[in-house]
């Protein structure tokens, strides 16, 4: 890449030894990508376990109820809450990615859409977490 071309991709110049900022690095575009990967991998590994635990329904009622009782443990309940929070980010940010790819103004509004994703994520978490944590922490009562 020529010097001229590279400078057009640079938004800030500084004398510090840290790499210069770019349109992407360190901004909402990068962090949404990082969160999308982390939440995606987490959901994938839960999916592997979840297919196996549901398969216990085909073994016996006792086997299924035994595996379900572990999900009703408060520590697992915190994990389930985190999982649903991860799913909500992945879902909302996925819609943002689709809009960036297919909507003619998607790239222009990618940053504002990121903050809409964060807002929906906070609202969704506020709606779900109290319900699920209440159910988990009152199990057996």
């Amino acid at each position: 890449m020529t010097d001229q071309a590279s400078s057009t991709l640079t938004t800030a110049r500084s004398s510090s030894k840290r790499p210069a900022g770019t349109l992407y690095r360190g901004n909402t575009g990068m962090w949404s990508w990082v969160l999308h990967r982390i939440t995606g991998v987490s959901i994938y590994f839960f999916l592997l376990v979840h297919v196996l635990d549901t398969a216990m329904i085909r073994v016996s009622p006792q086997a299924y109820d035994a595996v379900m009782s572990t999900y009703k443990n408060p520590i697992m309940g915190l994990g389930e809450t985190a999982l649903v929070i991860a799913i909500m980010f992945h879902a909302f940010n996925g819609i943002r990615i689709i809009l960036i790819d297919f909507w003619s103004k998607g790239a222009k509004y990618q940053r504002v859409m990121f903050w809409i994703v964060i807002a929906l994520w906070v609202i969704g978490t506020a709606g779900f977490a109290p319900i699920h944590l209440h159910n988990v922490f009152t199990e057996g009562q």
Binding site: V41, I43, Y44, L48, V51, P61, V84, G94, F128, N135
Partner: protein
């Protein structure tokens, strides 16, 4: 291995005329399945974790009641296929990004493929061969709608 990174907006050179562009269809699949999974998974979470007493109510009878209806059987099987392929393709992308060693990459991609096939087949068989009124279920745990033997 040297990879040439083209300048942005360089027109694509069609070297593989007539062949299927799997990466393009994979890219499209992630978006189409993503929209469907949003509806299927949010519906699944709402019915299982939010309605009524949520996770407290989930036991054998709850799931057996759902799988007594084709609606929930198909809901879960479609969700299983879409999610396993979506998740496996995402993991493939991540492995391709980070696994530099050829052997390590092949082993990881093979593992992802095997896990996907095994779990899709297992899950589909579980949902469609499940009998909520199986005679293996003890009489005192039999579901209300099952015929009394």
């Amino acid at each position: 291995m040297s990879t040439i990174i083209e300048a942005p907006r360089t027109p694509r050179v069609r070297s593989s005329k007539g062949r299927i562009n799997w990466e393009k269809w994979g890219w499209l699949y992630m978006r189409l399945s993503g929209v469907l999974l949003l509806i299927l998974i949010f519906g699944h979470l709402f019915v299982n974790l939010v309605l009524g007493q949520g996770i407290k109510e989930i036991d054998f009878a709850f799931v057996a009641g759902k799988y007594a209806t084709p609606f929930w059987q198909w809901w879960d099987v479609i969700m299983l296929w879409l999610a396993m392929i979506h998740g496996s393709n995402g993991m493939r992308t991540i492995v391709n990004d980070y696994a530099g060693n050829r052997t390590v990459r092949r082993v990881l991609l093979g593992g992802i493929a095997v896990a996907a096939v095994v779990l899709i087949v297992l899950g589909t068989l579980v949902v469609f061969t499940f009998d909520p009124c199986s005679t293996l279920i003890p009489a005192d745990q039999a579901l209300a709608f099952c015929p009394v033997p």
